[in-house]
Symmetry: C2
Subunit: 353 residues, 2 copies
C-alpha cells in the first residue's frame, strides 16, 4: 500500500471505512423504520459502492441518467429506478433495451411523457413500470396536486405497455411536514380512486434522519449520505469526521503572509456554494477560508490560522458538494486511514445523457 503523500494532486480520496460506516448507519435506520432504501448513485458513479449498498440491504439503486443506468446494468446491478421524464426517440429506444435487461422503473409528470412512453412500450413484451412524480415543495418537476397525480395515474394505468406503480418525490430540504402531508394526501386520493400506489418513494440526504416522519413513504433514495460533504454537515446529517470524500490539493504559492494558493480550483472543487461561504473546509486548518476559485487555482485566506501551510504541503479538503466533484475526476483513490488501497475509474462519469 502507498502513503497518501505519494498521490499526485489534485485528486479525490475516498475513505472506504467511512463509506462503510455511512452506508451501514443509514441502512440500519431504514431497516428500523421499515423503509426500503434505494441509494442514488449519482454521488459516486461507482459500481463497487452500488453493489456494497445492496449487499448491506438496499433494494436497488437510483440513477439520474440513462447512461448511468446502462453502466450499472453492465456492472451487474439489476434493480434500477430512473426518476426522470424520458423524452425523445433515441432515449426511448435505449430505455426499451434497458427494460428488457433490468427491473426498471421511471417517472412521468405529464400526459405528454406518458404518451411517449406508451408509444414505445405498447409493442414491448415487458411493460414499463411508471411512477407519478409529485412536486411536494421543491418547485422542480412533478404534478402540482394530488388530484393531478390521480389523473395521471389513471392515464398510466390505462396506457398500453405501461404499469402504474406508485408515486415519487424529491422534496425541498427543510420541507418535511409539507412533504409528509402531500404524500399522505396523494396516497389516500389514489386509494380512493382504486389505484393504490405500490411504491411511495421519497428522497434526499438533507432531511434523511427525519425520513420516518414521512409516514406514507415506502422507500427513501438518499445519495450524498455515502460520502457526506460540507453542506450535509451544515445540515447536521453527519460530522466532519464522517465525510468520506476529500479533495487532495497541494499548496503551490504563498504570495503573502495570509494567502495560500492551491492546485484545486473550480475544475476540481466546483463553484457550488449551496448557500455556504467559501468553497470547502480544511480539517487541518479549520480557520482557513477558501475564498475564491479560478479554474485551476483555489485562493485560501489564512488570516485566522495560527499555523499556516507551506508551499508543497498537501491539504485534504471537504468540498461543499461531493456529487459534483465525483463528476469531474476520471479516477478516484480509495483509501483506508492514510494508505492508498486502490485507484478506481469513475465508471459512470460523463454519462451526460
Amino acid at each position: 500500500m502507498t502513503d497518501l503523500a505519494a498521490i499526485d494532486t489534485p485528486a479525490v480520496l475516498i475513505d472506504i471505512d467511512r463509506v462503510e460506516t455511512n452506508l451501514a448507519r443509514v441502512q440500519a435506520y431504514a431497516d428500523q423504520h421499515g423503509l426500503a432504501l434505494r441509494p442514488h448513485i449519482k454521488t459516486h458513479k461507482l459500481p463497487i459502492f452500488a453493489h456494497r449498498a445492496i449487499a448491506l440491504g438496499a433494494v436497488g439503486i437510483t440513477v439520474q441518467k440513462l447512461g448511468e443506468a446502462e453502466i450499472m446494468v453492465q456492472a451487474g446491478i439489476t434493480d434500477i429506478f430512473l426518476p426522470y421524464n424520458i423524452v425523445g426517440d433515441e432515449k426511448l429506444a435505449r430505455l426499451r433495451v434497458l427494460n428488457d435487461t433490468a427491473t426498471l422503473a421511471v417517472t412521468a409528470d405529464s400526459a405528454t411523457i406518458v404518451a411517449g412512453l406508451s408509444a414505445t412500450f405498447a409493442t414491448a413484451e415487458k411493460p414499463l413500470r411508471v411512477l407519478v412524480e409529485c412536486d411536494t415543495g421543491m418547485g422542480r418537476c412533478g404534478v402540482q396536486s394530488p388530484a393531478q397525480a390521480v389523473t395521471l395515474a389513471e392515464q398510466i394505468a390505462t396506457a398500453p405497455g405501461l404499469v402504474f406503480d406508485g408515486v415519487m418525490t424529491y422534496p425541498a430540504a427543510g420541507g418535511v411536514e409539507a412533504n409528509a402531508a402531500w404524500l399522505t394526501a396523494v396516497r389516500d386520493a389514489l386509494i380512493a380512486a382504486g389505484l393504490p400506489p405500490r411504491i411511495i418513494s421519497n428522497g434526499g440526504t438533507p432531511d434523511l434522519w427525519r425520513a420516518h416522519e414521512v409516514t406514507a413513504a415506502t422507500e427513501h433514495r438518499p445519495g450524498t449520505y455515502i460520502y457526506l460533504d460540507r453542506f450535509q454537515v451544515s445540515k447536521n446529517v453527519g460530522s466532519v469526521a464522517d465525510c468520506a470524500l476529500t479533495v487532495l490539493a497541494t499548496v503551490v504559492s504563498r504570495p503573502t503572509e495570509n494567502r495560500a494558493i492551491i492546485d484545486a480550483g473550480s475544475k476540481s472543487l466546483t463553484s457550488d456554494t449551496l448557500g455556504l461561504v467559501g468553497f470547502g473546509f480544511i480539517p487541518t486548518y479549520p480557520e482557513a477560508v477558501i475564498t475564491s476559485l479560478s479554474e485551476e487555482h483555489g485562493t485560501i485566506d489564512l488570516t485566522n490560522c495560527s499555523t499556516k501551510p507551506a508551499i508543497g504541503d498537501k491539504l485534504r479538503i471537504i468540498p461543499n458538494h461531493a456529487c459534483v466533484v465525483s463528476n469531474l475526476f476520471d479516477t478516484v483513490n480509495l483509501i483506508s486511514g492514510d494508505q492508498l488501497v486502490e485507484r478506481v475509474s469513475v465508471a459512470a462519469r460523463g454519462r451526460v445523457d
Copy 2:
C-alpha cells in the same frame, strides 16, 4: 450531415464558423498592435483548435496543466507556455520529459519554486525557461512588487538548469491601468538590473480589446475569446451572435404555466455565475431566466416570455462560462449553421494534474 435536431441532449455544440471568426478577429487585433498571441487552450481542450489558432498566426499555446501540455504535445503542438508553479517530484519529472520534446516555459513566483525547478533541471541537457509570475491586481499567485520580481529573476538567472525569460501576469478584469503601470514598472526595474525581460506576457479575455493599452506587454494569452460566453458578452467582448459554444438541452417538464425544466443542470452548465443572475442565456427565449440548477435539471422561469417552449423542444443555451462546460463533456459536436459536421473527443478533458 445531420440536422441538429437529431443530437441527443444534453450536448455541447460548437459553431465552427463563429470559432473561425473569433480566432481571426483577435489574431488581426494582435497583429495590428504587434502583440504575440498565445491562446489558452483550457477553454476548448481540443488539438484541432490549437492547431487552427497557430495556423492563423498564434506563436504557440498556453495550458494550465501538465496533462493538458502532454496531450497537446502528442497532438503535434510544439510551443507551449505553462504559467503555473510546478511542485512535487512526480510533476517535475513529467516537466523534464516535456521540456525535452517541446519549446516550453513555466512560471515561478517564489524561491521555493525556483529551487525545485533548478534541482530537476540542473542535470538536464536542455535548460528550462522560467518567467516570473507577477500579481498585478488579481490577488492570486505572483510576486507582490516589481522589486520582488527582480530578486526572483536574479535567482532564476543564476540557478543551474534554468533560463530567465521574462514576466507573466493574469490581471484582474477591469484593472487595465493598474496592470499596465505594474508591467511597465517591472520591465524598467528588470532592465535597470541588467535582466531585460524577453517576454512580458499578459492575459485574459475580459479586457482583450484593451490589451494594446498595456504597452509593456509583448504577448497576450486570451482563452475564452474562441467561444465567448454570457459573461464575456456582459463585458462587451463580443455579442450573443459571436458565441460559438451552446449547450443543447431538451424541455422535459412544464409543470406550471411559467416553469420549464430542462435536462441540463449543474453537471452540464456548471454552477458558475461569475456575478450574473441566472445560469445561462437562451437566445430563442431571451426573456427566460434559468433560475436554478440541480445536478441534472435546470429550472427556467418563463413568466416574461410571450411564447413558451413545449415538452420535447430543444433549446440552445449560452452558458455563463464556456471553459468549465468544456470540462464536463467527453465529446463536443462541431456544427456549421444548423448541421452537425463532426463529433470530436475533448482530448484534454479531465487532465486534472
